[in-house]
């Protein structure tokens, strides 16, 4: 298992992570090692096995009634945001 520099950059792009040149050697070295390590799973006999969906047998996602359960606290929540104006989160212009 090996990854080229472009492979690493492609994974970083999919993960929305900016990678600095200083970080490249560490990632190029460790990611293939991890992927090689997990490849030992391919030896396991799993032909008739269903992938595990939940740690507990017979559990399914609960449903709840579609009613309002939260009160408006947007001002409080937005105190943690870097850029807010008129109760709106600001991001760089998306449409020219």
């Amino acid at each position: 298992m090996s990854l080229t520099r472009d492979d690493v950059l492609d994974i970083a792009r999919l993960a929305r992570l900016a990678i600095t040149p200083a970080e490249m050697p560490g990632l190029s070295d460790s990611l293939p090692k991890i992927l090689t390590f997990v490849e030992q799973l391919s030896a396991a006999q799993t032909a008739d096995v269903e992938p595990m969906a939940h740690p507990l047998d017979g559990q399914s996602q609960r449903l709840r009634s579609d009613t309002v359960s939260e009160t408006d606290a947007h001002e409080r929540y937005q105190q943690n945001a870097a850029r807010v104006e008129a109760s709106l989160y600001l991001v760089p212009k998306v449409i020219e």
């Binding site: 993960a15 900016a18 990678i19 991890i34 997990v38 799973l41 396991a44 740690p55 507990l56 870097a82």
Partner: protein, 484 residues
């Protein structure tokens, strides 16, 4: 006062030998004096703690309150705490003041528990040595040149150093049990779904579970009971009554069947650790247990299974950190993509990035079946192995960690070696089983942990077995030099 257990502190407050304010002040004083060398706390909430303690004293004065009223503890900094900095030991959340309480925090507040502060941890709980924290590594009070284990390393160091009488933790692959083992504490991770994950910052949602690090099994029973139970705000929370874990601690173990996990005694286990674990098995035999060797043939695949499933879930969970709504946001973003990628690139540390990228890769088109689906199938095989074992035995027993605490920096450059620290603990997470670690001896002054694993919802039996062992042994009473 600081060597008392939670139960001891509770009894002292109830008998008016001391007040909650006095106990809280005592621990805050110890934190101020001893924490700088340990780095166990990220935030100390002294004012809030003293206000909570004063309120608890009023409740006690009115003849009210329960067994945890006025008792101080620390919370791992992965639990959201209303109005208090909640960092997950990441630069990404270094400015995050939580607007609400995690269910665990709320329940303990309602039980009258006083919060001393928030403990250090591996960044986003990704690590086994507490060296990935943006706030710097935590030191092991048994030897300050060694790691306390991770990811709940701050909680472990704080309790072991008696600067907090107990602490919460979380365990995704061993993050309560391994640090408990490396610091001579009692640590329990309950069954998946037993403790609410609401407000517990997510790493790998199908594996994460909250629990406690305490001085003994009795305290673990007390604290775990108060934080367990159904929560409609966690969709995987299980609606099942919580038994009084303290009520069954004294049940005799006569006739109990204990499985010795064959796969846990192979190569990689230090001989000195193995010998102490075997001594502990003899204690169980004297207590009336029957020992049976049990084999779980797929268990050796638990670490590679985990390092597909956990990074996959982490890459999805951590996509919420985008520099927009909360957390670190980069300066002067050029455009939206630049805002996302630079906020994440600058806000996350190396190990977190490595796991996000591993997860992104195993979930990407063309690799999903070969890695992720394959791992979920092997996870099923491991879970089935445990099921077969529990048809024969009541509990499984083995070591918690392959070695005692290692030197700071010894494994940071080699992720695979670091990942193998959790070789004995990950299986329980993959199968959603309750598991705990209790002290079973020392090698050259460093603690060794014994791991007990039970079937789903067997917390009471685990705590009973741990308590009975602790009635026969003194290991859990030892205090590191300089902290007595």
């Amino acid at each position: 006062m600081h060597t008392l257990t939670l139960a001891g502190i509770s009894a002292g407050i109830k008998a008016r030998r001391f007040s909650s304010v006095e106990v809280t002040q005592h621990f805050l004083g110890r934190i101020e004096r001893l924490n700088p060398a340990l780095n166990a706390f990220i935030t100390v909430t002294a004012d809030q703690a003293l206000a909570q303690a004063a309120a608890a004293d009023q409740v006690v004065a009115a003849g009210k309150g329960g067994p945890l009223t006025g008792v101080p503890i620390a919370h791992k900094d992965i639990f959201c705490t209303d109005g208090v900095l909640t960092t997950c030991a990441s630069k990404m959340l270094s400015n995050f003041v939580s607007p609400y309480d995690a269910t665990v925090v709320r329940k303990l507040k309602e039980a009258g528990v006083v919060m001393l502060g928030k403990t250090n941890m591996d960044e986003f709980a990704m690590g086994s040595s507490n060296e990935t924290s943006w706030y710097g590594p935590v030191k092991n009070p048994w030897d300050l040149s060694r790691v306390p284990g991770g990811s709940s390393g701050g909680s472990a160091a704080a309790v072991a150093a008696r600067i907090a009488p107990a602490a919460t933790g979380t365990d995704t692959g061993g993050s309560i049990r391994q640090p408990a083992a490396l610091t001579a504490l009692t640590g329990i991770k309950p069954t998946y779904g037993r403790v609410s994950r609401y407000g517990m910052i997510a790493y790998a949602s199908s594996l994460d579970q909250g629990g406690v690090l305490t001085l003994n099994a009795e305290d673990a029973a007390l604290l775990l009971g108060a934080m367990s139970g159904f929560d409609e705000r966690d969709s995987t929370s299980v609606d099942l009554a919580v038994p009084d874990y303290t009520a069954t601690l004294n049940q005799p173990l006569k006739g109990i069947k204990v499985g010795i996990l064959k796969e846990f005694f192979g190569k990689g286990l230090e001989a000195t650790t193995e010998s102490l674990v075997r001594d502990a098995l003899e204690v169980y035999e004297r207590l009336g247990a029957t020992l049976v060797e049990v084999s779980l043939p797929n268990l050796p695949l638990s670490v590679p299974t985990y390092y597909v499933v956990a990074p996959a879930e982490c890459s999805s969970n951590l996509s919420r950190f985008d520099g927009v709504r909360f957390g670190y946001s980069c300066a002067e973003p050029k455009d939206l993509l630049d805002l996302y990628t630079r906020s994440r690139g600058e806000g996350f540390g190396a190990e977190v990035k490595r796991r996000i990228m591993t997860g992104t890769y195993v979930l990407s088109a063309g690799y999903y079946d070969a890695y992720y689906i394959k791992a979920q199938k092997v996870r099923q095989l491991i879970s089935d192995d445990f099921k077969r074992a529990f048809a024969q035995v009541d509990l499984l027993v083995g070591p918690t960690a392959p070695t005692t605490a290692f030197e700071l920096g010894a494994k940071v450059d080699d992720p695979i070696t670091m990942y193998l620290n959790d070789i004995y603990t990950i299986g329980a997470n993959l199968a959603g089983l309750p598991a705990m670690s209790i002290p079973c001896g020392f090698v050259e002054g460093l603690p060794v942990g014994l791991q007990l694993i039970g079937p789903h919802f067997a917390e009471a039996k685990l705590l009973n077995a741990a308590h009975q062992y602790q009635q026969q042994t003194e290991w859990h009473r030892r205090i590191p030099a300089g902290y007595a």
